[in-house]
Subunit: 540 residues, 2 copies
């Protein structure tokens, strides 16, 4: 096994200052368009520096450079790519203080949470470095020739997966690190061998620039073609459409609202050559409280529920926004306990004034529904982006009758669906749209009933949880952060965890190739030492 | 390891007679609509029996029954499902004589080729039986809990893939067995655990009914829920739209024209819940003849080329419809030799009068292009569906200037693109649309140049061949029969080979699940003995 010569340049620590520039293929570029500024979430005051929007020519350059870097980058030795990912992680760690301070200003999220998010983001990059080195992602398969097969000889056929091409990434507002410039989409696309062009999220432009410094320093240090990364600033719909319809872009990663996600899907489908869009859009994350669990531990469930609901001002795509339970004394205890906690909740600053306003409107729309009761409501904090918790209830038949009650309230509000019996609860589940998660709280006495619900839950969600809450999303090998439409645009994948690399790969077969023209992972001597399937049998 | 009790019923041999009935979830149903009839390809005479078109209610019933069968079918022990697939294969073998005789009438294809196709179809079913038993398709992953991890414990998370749901299958005209009722789409969907509703191809209705008998007998024998298979007859666009927009249908497999494929894609994208469409549409399969190869063996290349071009009247999606070469004495010898062979070609009966007419129009359109020369043209046979071979040439700059010259001529016609030098040849390749295959004929002296072309060829095609011809598509583990748009609607997959099962699966994670509620493949004791990835490490 040969280790490639290291192309490492002297380490240049990533800059911690903000310049208001974008990065286009390694160059700092100040846009010529309108100024965008992040807003201090708490005070509503615009932050320095301003970031001018990219021109169409800037975008064009970024996409061209990504295409120009693609063949070199995708054919790097996997260990080289892995070390590049590790260097990005290391640079992020170096910038922790600056990232946390700026992200705290821009998003109002607590500094401890943001420090944890830096760690999550670096762990994610390191996870993908490991995945790249291990090599299963190549999907290498070899069907050796059978020259004596009758009636016809079998030719030698070998298969590997290659990356799709440059990827456009649109980060989320609610995870300024883990789902943004260097978040899961970028990490998995870079791991797969795809250059990325990231649209900086307007709500955290400074955090985005810092993350770009981390990757730029690693690009330099590891001699990676500069076009492998660009960060551009612009008006969402305009820039989004230009990026997604650029002929060099071959896939899209997106986390955000359903409206924006659907717009990107339409733009991608309207191209002369349609491309895959991986949009993670919206989910209300149903939680079923089973009868024995409620009888056993209603108060404890209420406590853990309200913690999950109000965590991060409820701004999680996996926030438990819908509870389903059968009327019982246990449910009454649960609602009384949770209601008291929500009533006493002091509220929290949300990510932006705009998100706080949208949440208020969504919550009030559901709360004012003639069939919905407001069980409890917390206080609004003194903030430019105030988030107020709420607990609402509705009868199952009313819930089933009106699909509008499945609207996501992006914040700390949940709707409890009160059911007469298990049949009605099952019926309510059957009427749900696709979800990121579905959760069951059950005691052993509930298991027979849960067993019957399980096929339904599996078909509605990407992750099924038991006696836990959905707000934590582990970054590992077994995680699925995805799910049936409209939770995402493509249920066949995940945007968190090592399987996310699959989104940016496609198989290619090589038939009867001379050995010197075979890709390395398909050569007889397997120089990268990757797992392969030979004649259908796995050789790890 | 427990082997499940066999639910086998007494074997009931599949019927070899034709009744003109469809099959809807195990029932023979005679439609109430317009009569469809296959046509004898050679004589143009309508064949008995007539098949009446399904009513919307029939289609609705088929889709409902597929949904009703889904949960039971998908949760069968994999060995049970594997034995079911093997039984279908066995039943097809039993029906070989009847299938070959009927398909020969309906398609005009030679009986030896059709007998080979029966074998290919049964091998394909047996391949998937092996894939189902082996169990890698579950994609089982286990990240065990880490209760002592800081700052937070890690929950137990496990992942498996589950099938998408009922699949609509639209077979191809040119492979009445291997790409039709029990072809690759149906075999891989059934292997994944998806019920299928097949639209019978109008060009081979009798062959379709016989294939349905083979599966019905296996459904009965193995106690499979009847809704797992339906065969319906109808008008293409009407039935296609109804099937693809039925809410129970969750994916689509299609092989056919670009026009029909794009219509299905649009219908699928317009649903309230969009679904994946795997459409294999059109390809002209570029073949590059490198200078040294032409200098070494121009005559032999011309011979093998004309065999590949005229095989099956050129009615292969992988037919070599485009040659690219640099002008040289070798190319002159190649063209002279191939031209003589084409001029002497007696032609062949095509699949249907309509396909023959469409081919003639496509060929004449390209031939009458002001920049295209007709180098050679074969004879038309005495047939209701006459197919006439042709060899056309064009200069590379003219080819590059007019994308219309990339139109597929579905039949035994090829266009030779004459290039001044390697730069122009590379430029012509760069202008190509996505393809199923790309082929290079090269001698060792060409390898340096081919190495530089390879990244381009990989990005244009799903399969790259060396010193071979693309018309044979092996059914194995390493095959890719797919490729970038517009060759297919989704380059991330293959419609031939064991990887095709991936199209109909999606991952689901189970977090903190009580052991008795875990799916079998994720239980600690691994009762189905499937390969799993534990904490990222593969355990085959």
């Amino acid at each position: 096994m040969s280790i490639p010569p290291s192309p490492r340049q002297p380490v240049r620590p990533p800059a911690a200052d903000l310049t208001g520039a974008m990065f286009i293929a390694g160059r700092r570029v100040t846009g010529a368009g309108v100024e965008n500024r992040s807003i201090d979430a708490r005070t509503g005051r615009p932050l320095q520096p301003p970031y001018r929007q990219a021109s169409p020519t800037d975008i064009d350059e970024a996409c061209h450079a990504a295409e120009a870097a693609f063949d070199t980058y995708r054919n790097l030795h996997p260990w080289h790519r892995a070390r590049f990912l590790e260097a990005i992680a290391q640079n992020l760690t170096t910038l922790t203080d600056a990232l946390v301070a700026r992200a705290h200003q821009e998003t109002g999220l607590p500094t401890a949470r943001l420090a944890g998010e830096v760690e999550r983001t670096t762990n994610q990059l390191r996870l993908f470095a490991g995945v790249v080195s291990e090599g299963s992602w190549y999907g290498a398969r070899i069907d050796p020739a059978q020259p004596h097969r009758t009636p016809q000889p079998r030719p030698d056929i070998r298969q590997q997966r290659i990356p799709l091409g440059p990827v456009a990434v649109f980060g989320a507002s609610n995870f300024p690190l883990a789902f943004s410039v260097l978040g899961g989409d970028t990490a998995s696309a870079l791991a797969a061998g795809c250059p990325v062009v990231v649209k900086a999220h307007d709500a955290h432009l400074g955090t985005s620039e810092l993350a770009a410094h981390a990757i730029q320093a690693a690009v330099h240090e590891h001699g990676i073609p500069q076009g492998v990364f660009s960060l551009v600033v612009g008006d969402g719909p305009t820039l989004g459409t230009q990026l997604v319809t650029d002929p060099h872009i071959q896939a899209v990663g997106f986390t955000g609202s359903r409206t924006a996600g659907l717009a990107l899907m339409r733009a991608a489908a309207s191209r002369p050559q349609p491309i895959p869009v991986y949009a993670e859009m919206s989910s209300i994350n149903p939680v079923v409280l089973m009868p024995s669990a409620l009888a056993d531990r209603a108060e404890a469930l209420a406590d853990s529920f309200t913690s999950s609901l109000t965590l991060g001002a409820g701004q999680f795509c996996t926030n438990p926004g819908l509870l389903l339970a059968i009327d019982s004394p246990g449910l009454k205890t649960f609602l009384d306990t949770a209601g008291r906690a929500i009533d006493a909740d002091a509220g929290a600053t949300m990510l932006t004034p705009r998100i706080a306003k949208a949440y208020r409107i969504e919550r009030e729309t559901v709360a004012s529904h003639p069939r919905v009761d407001v069980l409890a409501q917390g206080s609004a904090p003194d903030s430019a982006s105030p988030g107020q918790a709420a607990l609402l209830t509705v009868q199952a038949d009313d819930f089933i009758a009106d699909p509008e009650l499945q609207r996501e309230m992006f914040g700390a509000a949940a709707l409890v669906v009160r059911c007469r019996d298990l049949t009605e609860l099952t019926d309510a589940l059957r009427h749900l749209e696709g979800q990121l998660t579905a959760t069951v709280h059950a005691s052993p006495g509930d298991h027979d009933a849960v067993q019957r619900l399980l096929p339904l839950l599996e078909r509605r969600a990407g992750r099924v949880l038991f006696n836990d809450w959905p707000t934590g999303v582990e970054v590992g090998h077994a995680m699925v952060h995805g799910g049936p439409y409209p939770a995402t645009s493509d249920a066949r994948t995940t945007s968190v965890g090592s399987l996310a690399i699959d989104r940016f790969l496609r198989p290619v077969a090589y038939q009867h190739a001379p050995h010197d023209l075979l890709p390395p992972v398909l050569r007889d001597d397997n120089p990268y030492n990757v797992p392969r399937r030979v004649d259908g049998v796995l050789h790890p």
